[in-house]
């Protein structure tokens, strides 16, 4: 292995340089600390995002009713406790932005790519610890900017998380398109820079720093997922950056990339020749791969957690890799399915329907492989495992309705209704969150040297699982009834009056689900300090991170980095007493390495 030799030289290095508080906890270059920073920032943003969703769910269930909590939290934007329509849109927008980018992209991928890539491939750290640190702090700056936009005079961005121009481009169109939108765009630009630095680092690390014996086909599926995710990010995020920059130009410097023939507030604007559809193309060229940027790491984590806790090899390892690659490739040529009725040529609609439905094939392969992995296993049903099984369940439920939305014809009538909201929340929102939770429960001992409370974990899972379906299953119905999303209230349409009670049911489930996350938060913080101390390999797992000592230090392993002799999934292999064989154990005499 040529790649192994680089590490072999590095092994000679002593890794006990002096660290101050600042270099250890703040501007740390150690991937494990950066992972924790990502996790805690991501969780913090996640709680804000979830809290916002609860606020607008209250408004949807009991429209225009005064709530004391609105007055406390929203102040002048909720006079007498009644939420203002602009604020409703702002909450929806910022909820979407925070959850998609700050929690499920940075919080999920940032945490686990950073934690696991070096540890699972057998490297002392990322290829560039410095860039890694810069990546986190750029992310932190972009979080701060996004949150600061909540405090500007006219309110934060309110054009939906996709911020389509002209609505987002013209301050005359809505109050949120003023300073709030500027902050949104700047924050996203910085976020993209952060994400690109991170992704480049992940790709370089996986390609170059694998330990001796760690061939690509011995990599755990987590690493495959993070690796491919990073590549998708590198390919698609720059396009969003260009869209954001062009939008900034249109807003501030009078260009007309996305704007043409506009009359607003009694005035004809000077813009000529641009097209909002161009923005849609640029946005969704990232926007759709983004779904997989969110989802693939969660699926990678699931693969690892399922196999470990089923005490069985992941079924169809090579098929899993092939499906990750297929999904990644297809994800870059399906963006048009968000635009079937945008006014683009209907012929393009046919093309995008074709590519979109193709994506269902590798996804189906993954789902079936997960189910087969459970078959005849010896399932250790700890909280991480429950969340992984839950992920497979919501991935199937949410993914299947994608067949309706990906079909251009069927999309006509359910486009931008609550059917879409239900679909993507299940398939990428809830699934990715489950992946995040599974990852936290599974690698908490690795991150903090302690265990979380099992029973609180069980409560967290069951309440969340029931409520997730309770929220999003009925939502399909109101969508199929034709109820558009992003409506502040439905009371202006008597036609929708019979859907009001469904909205109440959804909100009640959402509130309970929100409460369940407090259980998790308590468990997380409490266990960080008072949890039971862990043993080195609590799950009896095969991957390399569990061969590293419990205590954290820069460099991960004392002495030599372990060499790898087998794939990551030798669980319950016949001819061995133990039901797991870590990757660094050499093959027994006469033992065959599986031709997976």
């Amino acid at each position: 292995m040529s790649t192994g030799s680089i590490n072999a030289k590095e092994e000679e290095h002593a890794h006990h340089h002096k660290e101050t508080f600042i270099t250890k906890y703040v501007f740390s270059q150690d991937h494990k600390m950066i992972a924790k920073q990502y996790l805690i920032t991501g969780l913090f943003m996640g709680f804000i995002g979830i809290a916002m969703s609860l606020l607008f769910r209250l408004q949807l269930a009991w429209p225009e009713k005064p709530f004391g909590i609105f007055e406390i939290l929203l102040g002048k934007w909720a006079p007498d406790g009644v939420m203002d329509p602009n604020v409703y849109l702002a909450l929806v927008t910022i909820h979407g932005t925070i959850m998609v980018f700050f929690v499920l992209t940075a919080g999920l991928s940032g945490t686990f790519s950073n934690l696991l890539i070096p540890l699972q491939i057998g490297a002392r750290d990322m290829a560039s610890g410095f860039l890694n640190m810069v990546s986190f702090w750029l992310f932190f700056v972009s979080c701060t900017l996004m949150l600061s936009s909540l405090f500007v005079e006219a309110g934060p961005a309110a054009a939906g998380w996709t911020v389509y121009p002209p609505l987002s481009a013209l301050p005359q169109a809505q109050p949120g398109s003023g300073t709030g939108m500027t902050l949104w765009l700047v924050s996203m630009a910085i976020f993209i820079a952060s994400s690109l630095l991170g992704s480049l680092n992940y790709v370089v690390t996986v390609i170059n720093l694998r330990t001796k014996g760690m061939t690509m086909t011995r990599l755990p599926l987590t690493i495959w997922a993070f690796f491919v995710t990073a590549i998708i990010g590198i390919v698609s995020f720059p396009v969003l950056l260009s869209a954001a920059l062009l939008l900034i130009m249109d807003r501030s410097f009078g260009t007309s990339f996305f704007l043409s023939d506009i009359f607003i507030q009694g005035e004809v604007l000077h813009y000529q020749g641009g097209s909002p559809v161009l923005y849609e193309h640029l946005f969704w060229f990232l926007g759709h791969p983004e779904v997989y940027i969110v989802l693939l790491p969660a699926l990678g984590i699931t693969s690892e957690v399922l196999a470990t806790n089923a005490r069985k090899p992941i079924f169809g390892y090579r098929a899993m890799i092939a499906s990750i690659l297929a999904i990644a490739f297809l994800s870059t040529i399906v963006w048009g399915h968000h635009m079937f009725i945008s006014g683009m040529n209907p012929f393009l609609g046919s093309v995008f329907t074709f590519t979109t439905l193709l994506i269902a094939i590798p996804s189906a392969v993954k789902a079936f492989n997960y189910i087969t992995t459970l078959w005849k296993g010896n399932l250790q049903l700890n909280p991480a495992m429950l969340f992984s099984i839950g992920l497979v369940s919501t991935f199937i439920s949410g993914g299947l309705t994608g067949i309706i939305l990906g079909d251009s014809t069927l999309d006509i009538n359910v486009h931008d209704t609550y059917f879409v909201v239900a679909h993507f929340h299940l398939v990428m929102g809830i699934s990715a969150l489950y992946g995040l939770f599974a990852g936290v429960y599974h690698w908490f001992p690795k991150m903090f040297g302690r265990m979380m409370n099992k029973n609180l974990g069980y409560i967290h899972f069951w309440v969340t699982a029931i409520c997730a379906y309770g929220v999003f299953f009925p939502m399909h119905f109101i969508g199929m009834a034709g109820l558009p999303r992003r409506y502040y209230t439905n009371t202006n349409f008597p036609y929708f009056d019979d859907l009001a009670n469904i909205n109440v049911v959804i909100t009640v489930f959402a509130l309970i689900a929100g409460a369940a996350q407090i259980v998790f938060l308590y468990n997380f913080i409490h266990s960080m300090f008072y949890g039971k101390e862990t043993e080195q390999n609590p799950w009896q797992s095969n991957t390399l991170e569990w061969t590293a000592p419990i205590e954290h230090f820069h460099g991960n392993w004392h002495g030599k980095i372990p060499h790898v002799h087998r794939w990551a999934y030798d669980y319950s292999k016949p001819g061995h007493d133990e039901d797991f064989i870590p990757q660094n154990i050499p093959l027994k005499e006469g033992e065959e390495e599986l031709q997976h």
Partner: protein, 354 residues
């Protein structure tokens, strides 16, 4: 009242979660909780997994039983039934797959719950199985794609057609206008630059130098003759909007600086739709809800809600600003005679701006 009850419910749920945790903690006083699942955990959680399967099925059945009637309002356009067939075909495929896969997933989670004494079955690969579940979805999807594309081409490719009625849907924050081509059935050229002509009476910016535009008719309520193809041309003057007409299975974005189009043929008049048994029972249900809500309103000294009568709707379905939620227009489908009578009484553009 409902809010109060819900809040109480929430508090109770929170308290009970907390209590359950306490009980669980107290019931195992010696062992400090670790995350590792022992045999008794596996037993309980495995059974819960099976219970969860029943919950998922139960929720599905309950939802269809309670709310099944709101799904896909009756189609009122010619391509509507084609759309509905495709939807229900896709739906049955989805439903079938969902039922089977969820069952397998949760049943396996229950059946193979761990025991210390057992060892898992080492089973890493099977090319035949992989091939099966690659090929079967491929075939099913191929059928759906072909069926879908066939319908899509049917619905979306608008052919210019002498007999069709030309209607422009004009969107602005936050209302709709409709423009008919008038006697010549040709829509005159228009641009937002002309909006301020005639002291703002040029409501959709018709180019007064284009003779085709003079007989155009601009209205705030969309009337359509039944059984005649309608070709819609969509425009917007400010931001993106989307013209969504759920009963006609029709939707198209309105894009500033661009004209988009969609065509359909309405097949049922508003009157016919109001006589439809499904609609009658829906209207009755809605009016019962409105009556109950009115009682509360009257108690607060406000006016009661008006009884609801069915009408077709045009909604805005692309977020467009603060009043997006109230950007609507009534659609009236009527017989051709009624339509002709109505349109004769409307002012043309030339008459209006004089």
């Amino acid at each position: 009242m409902t809010i109060f009850l819900t809040l109480i419910l929430l508090i109770l749920v929170t308290v009970s979660i907390w209590q359950v945790t306490k009980i669980l903690e107290l019931s195992q006083p010696k062992v400090q909780s670790s995350q590792i699942a022992d045999d008794s955990d596996n037993q309980t959680q495995g059974k819960l997994m099976f219970a969860f399967l029943i919950f998922v099925y139960g929720l599905t059945i309950f939802s269809f039983w309670m709310w099944g009637d709101v799904l896909l309002p009756n189609a009122a356009s010619e391509h509507g039934s084609e759309y509905d067939n495709l939807m229900w075909a896709t739906f049955s495929v989805i439903f079938f797959v969902q039922t089977i896969t969820q069952a397998l997933l949760h049943y396996f989670s229950y059946k193979y719950r761990g025991e210390k004494s057992r060892k898992a079955f080492f089973y890493a690969d099977n090319d035949v199985l992989e091939a099966i579940w690659t090929i079967i979805p491929t075939i099913v999807l191929a059928v759906l794609i072909l069926f879908g594309l066939y319908t899509w081409n049917d619905v979306m490719f608008v052919e210019e057609n002498e007999d069709a009625l030309m209607v422009e849907l004009y969107a602005q924050q936050f209302n709709w206008k409709a423009r008919y081509g008038g006697e010549d059935n040709v829509l005159g050229d228009a641009n937002v630059r002309f909006l301020q002509d005639f002291d703002g009476k040029n409501l959709v910016g018709i180019d007064a130098t284009d003779p085709n535009g003079l007989d155009d008719i601009i209205v705030q309520e969309l009337h359509l003759p039944v059984g005649k193809e309608i070709i819609f041309k969509m425009r917007s003057q400010d931001v993106l909007h989307s013209a969504y007409m759920p009963h006609f299975r029709a939707q198209m974005n309105c894009v500033p600086g661009m004209i988009t189009e969609f065509a359909f043929t309405p097949i049922r008049t508003t009157e016919q739709m109001r006589m439809d048994p499904d609609i009658i029972s829906k209207v009755r249900k809605i009016n019962e809800i409105r009556k109950v809500n009115s009682v509360e309103l009257i108690a607060n000294g406000e006016e009661a809600l008006e009884p609801y009568i069915f009408d077709y709707l045009l909604l805005c379905n692309k977020v467009c600003g603060a009043s997006h939620y109230n950007m609507q227009m009534k659609i009236i489908v009527e017989t051709e005679q009624e339509f002709n009578k109505w349109i004769k009484n409307q002012q043309t553009f030339a008459q209006f701006v004089q």
